[in-house]
Symmetry: D2
Subunit: 380 residues, 4 copies
């Protein structure tokens, strides 16, 4: 199909869960939103020729390659979309930016603060040349979350007092679940903390418009060895199973952040509650279309938490989706993210979150680990 | 205890489930509400001397008698509270009113329209002498229900378009559950219809401020014989297990009413949703402290059903109970009912609902059975 | 993109709300499911050249034409997908089937039973030649709904006693909302009944595996004239605003069905509760990823309605979507529907629902209108 | 009323909110439960003769006195029930125990750890003489909470991994709310911490069957001066408005505890979620009759959080209350508590929680304040 709109050519690295979600986004963004350039799914890079070719066909990429450097060297690719494990992010992103490619990189930005800072610095330099980098904290694009931020930004909630953020899954709860690279610190950097906690920290900071400044934290490994998928031999678990953070934000906000892969029954229960002097909001991803909002100015006789079904045309992103009451799911936020990314870079504007924003999240993750090690409050 | 407040002396007939609930009400009403006369629990009447004496002690009645007529003949009793099966209501109530006793009678008012009309006529005559009768449709005194009525009465919901009322239980769902007098039409008059449907009909009419005028209905017996508790022999079920009604109300309101003892998982799920031109309300007893309210005038960006926790001092009855957020349960409505009853009769006013109101409910129940028999729409 | 998989060539008629939803489905089905033929979005037909061309570009169709007959005449089109208003369905579908094209037609199948029967007859004849027709009752493909049907089909709920289905919207609640062709019986056939009630009837019958056999119904017009969008002159509303049905199904099931465009606060609240002798299920679209299920065999100490988050790999359609806990929305059911349709016709099997199934729904709609007119119970 | 059952004579000190709740409990406990001795409401002590006399009449006490010492000196009083502000608990309780009176004391046990330890020591000595003391952590007697503990005690949840407890109110959220003794540390000891946090800590420890061993905490004063009720002059707020605790329990459990009077919209939102290796439970007081339970052993196809309506005869305390589905509220837990207290002391057994248990809660409260002051982790 040639729609006559000039294209923005995408090369994607990685084609597992995140690769599928990003492919969905590139495929649909211009079908839903008015974009100045239409994303074209040029090529996907993987390691196995067979699996990459199969992924290209399944996900809708024109070509499959087995070295991500090939994507960076091509002139017909404008954007590098990084969907690989986090230990590879730095190398790919820095090379892509140096080659003049815009970059969208999955979260967490990196496995260490040093890597993240290097990436942020590379992005800062590229930005001077009009080359942009952004990190895929996609939950910012869930409409109910974006509405929560709007209500805080426009003052509807008054002065924010406290916040509670939880990101709960349960796939490690079974003690017999197998080991994987995700449980090996040398590959994944951290466990629930980087996987779930990074989202929690980014979302808290973004929705509130505040940064975490100091924290006290504990992480836990509940099951310290698991059977290898191949041999069945027990291998050590070297990343956290869960992390618990007491956090102080700028402007006096205080709160708790929890991330766990052991919250039995919670499948992807990412949520928050924020209480301000004039209102409160609460959200949970498992009912992602709803924002619970309490208006402190309402008559007590009829006040209460209002379940706002965030599907009205006046809600963020909804003008372009379905009529009121027709719910969105997980993948719509990726389409929204792709559209925002394309719109920003076509306008010569920094897409959000920047690598600097994502590096600050990494700084908080690092502070959590330092606090766990030191048993002390830690400045970010 | 002698509190120094002049007393209103109560005699209660029956001491099973409803007797316990009414006793709780008489015991606590003056401890919660400012009443002009303080209810005194003088005597309870039952059939078995032993069980009645035990009930008197357990429930807090000073005396136990084995003939309700004795209560009616005593000068030191002002109110007869009828908590017996519905086939006995007419005789007791008519005799009590004739003897100059105020009457509070459990629902359904009677087992037939003829009985109910006779009772309403007796009450009409007694009222001329300042003797009052009321029927125990206690769910009117659940604060969230009373708030729903207020919102309709004050016009907050605009013109009412339609209503759905459901009263669902599941205690007969098990096909092997035993037979009882409740399943014998000669004793209980009807099944789910009179037991649950009577509440549903009364509440719909009261909250809306409208009367059902015509209806089309179906009733069902799903299990037509059950083992006798004693012999184990199968005995026929002669009352409805469930009833389904399509109803037209005065003023153009239309709706459905359902009552069932076979809604597996629904324990006492009495609820309604009412939709008007300017708002909606929904309530369910299993979360009895909450009224869901939609305000049609709200900004669509933040509109939605608001879960009003009906525990504020400004809510009906709540001024006299606990602080905001401290929930009430099933029995509080009985205390509220006793207080309302005492307050009304002390003021020389008709307590609500009157026997005439309750007889109208009976007229609707009768129309349901006629419609089931005729397969026709039936005027009430 | 040429994925190397042989294609199934689609021509779509109509490009409004349903056209966008179907385009989304054709665009994504082969990216999610393993399909024997890959849908190719060849051409879309509309009436306005400009708007059709714009829709083709926006929605991703290679060509735009202004006469649906052109699609039918082309050899390179295999499937005609009908997304136009219901008064045009019969002519297009019958012509397409006669031309040897498979047909997917939006619901309601037609505006009258006569039209629907003619379409079902055309489909019956085409099926003899291996040409298949199906109707887009897409809610069957919501995973939680499909799970409910599985639980009933495999006997988990035991003997079904009763059902309640409601499909509630509120976009006509405002009395000043403008007139449109949807409120003109000559164009739309009926109002809430055909629009929402058709879905409710189809879903009830499909989930239960039973047919409605007799019914008593009432429909209502709450606001009988509305201002024309152009002139502002009042034009008569000639279709129902709401419909209420008391229905008897085959095998003794009984229930109520309600459809309304006046249920203020309910945006797309399509839901049901089904009670059987061994379990119950309840679902509502506004929380589409959840099925509430009560297991009658559970220990009463821990029994209750379980909120099943229908996102597990073992749930219908979910193997091909995202990991557990990552919710789906409205449009995913259209992708599922497209995949089911392609899979069926490639296997030479009747896709479901057939036109005969959809014509039976039309028969029920017709019975509702007859019952409203006659004030009588009506056999279907 | 003389029921013929020998009585246990109660003297109560204080007659405000807690006094009313305790009076309700003494009035009703023997009407619901089979008790070996029947509580008799002998006398209430207050400071104002008028208000105490009015309270006695309203709440149902035979006598009113203006010095609590008078109650302690009387031979006809067996139990001293302490419902006064916490700065008076130590003196009254120690004196009552020394006089051979059983003591039920409201929470928090005291305003300081030193006071609490002195009380626990007095209780230890009294217990040697068969005189018993207990502290009113009444939420232990909410049936859904007691069920949660049962499930943990019987191993249904497996090894507990983590817990989150929140106790949220909003009555101070308004910056213009008046000052009161509750905001003066010299009177109340602490703010949200002792008022709400004490409940949270006790319940967490009791439900889990574990003790908090170390913690890191932060408290906050959001509004540091408020107008005096009388003069309107600003008076300093010297107690915490909110407290946030990261806590390690015995046996490796970890969790967070939050208490706030600024959570706008949360009226009495006391709740917890506990995740174990084989199941999870969650509860919130505003829906106090429900326990959410996830069974890790369930088939994933139908697993999910089950909303157990804790009103079955097999649930804690429910055998003596109403039929299934007939909900309880706030005050029922006080009746349950009174019944448990009477049953224990009549059996010569230590009622729970003991003063030692309550002193341990005080030790945790003290550790929270030490951690706030030191910015260090604190052992309990």
């Amino acid at each position: 199909m040639n729609t006559g709109v000039p294209s923005l050519n995408i090369g994607m690295v990685g084609h597992a869960f995140m690769g599928a979600a990003h492919s969905h986004a590139w495929r649909n963004a211009a079908r839903v939103f008015d974009l100045p350039l239409e994303p074209r799914m040029v090529a996907v890079a993987g390691t196995s020729p067979e699996r990459t070719a199969a992924a290209a066909q399944r996900l809708g990429w024109s070509e499959a390659v087995t070295d991500w450097r090939e994507l960076i060297e091509r002139d017909d690719i404008d954007v590098i979309d990084i969907c690989t494990p986090s230990d590879t992010h730095r190398e790919i992103a820095v090379a892509a930016l140096a080659a003049g490619k815009h970059v969208l990189c999955e979260k967490p930005l990196a496995n260490s603060l040093a890597e993240a800072d290097e990436m942020a610095e590379a992005a800062r330099k590229a930005a001077e040349l009009g080359i942009w980098a952004s990190c895929g904290f996609t939950y910012r694009r869930q409409p109910a979350v974006a509405l929560a931020r709007q209500l805080i930004q426009d003052g509807s909630l008054g002065t924010i007092r406290h916040v509670r953020v939880t990101y709960l899954q349960d796939w490690l709860s079974n003690e017999k679940a197998e080991h994987s690279w995700r449980l090996d610190a040398s590959r994944s950097g951290s466990g629930a903390l980087g996987d779930l906690g990074a989202h929690a920290i980014d979302l808290a900071q973004w929705v509130l418009g505040e940064k975490i400044t100091t924290l006290s934290a504990r992480t836990r490994i509940f099951v310290d060895a698991r059977p290898s998928a191949g041999s069945g031999n027990l291998e050590p678990v070297t990343v956290d199973d869960a992390a618990f953070v007491l956090a102080e934000f700028s402007d006096g906000v205080i709160g708790t952040i929890e991330a766990s892969r052991y919250a039995l029954g919670r499948k992807n229960a990412f949520g928050f509650e924020i209480n301000g002097s004039n209102g409160s909001v609460a959200w949970e991803f498992e009912r992602n279309n709803e924002l619970q909002r309490y208006d402190g100015g309402a008559d007590p006789r009829s006040a209460g938490f209002t379940r706002v079904l965030v599907t009205e045309p006046s809600h963020p992103y909804l003008q372009n989706w379905w009529p009121a009451g027709h719910t969105l799911g997980y993948d719509h936020a990726f389409v929204n993210q792709a559209a925002d990314f394309v719109t920003s870079i076509c306008a010569g504007l920094q897409p959000t979150p920047s690598f600097a924003d994502a590096a600050y999240v990494q700084r908080v993750l690092s502070a959590v680990q330092l606090s766990e090690n030191s048993h002390q409050w830690q400045a970010v």
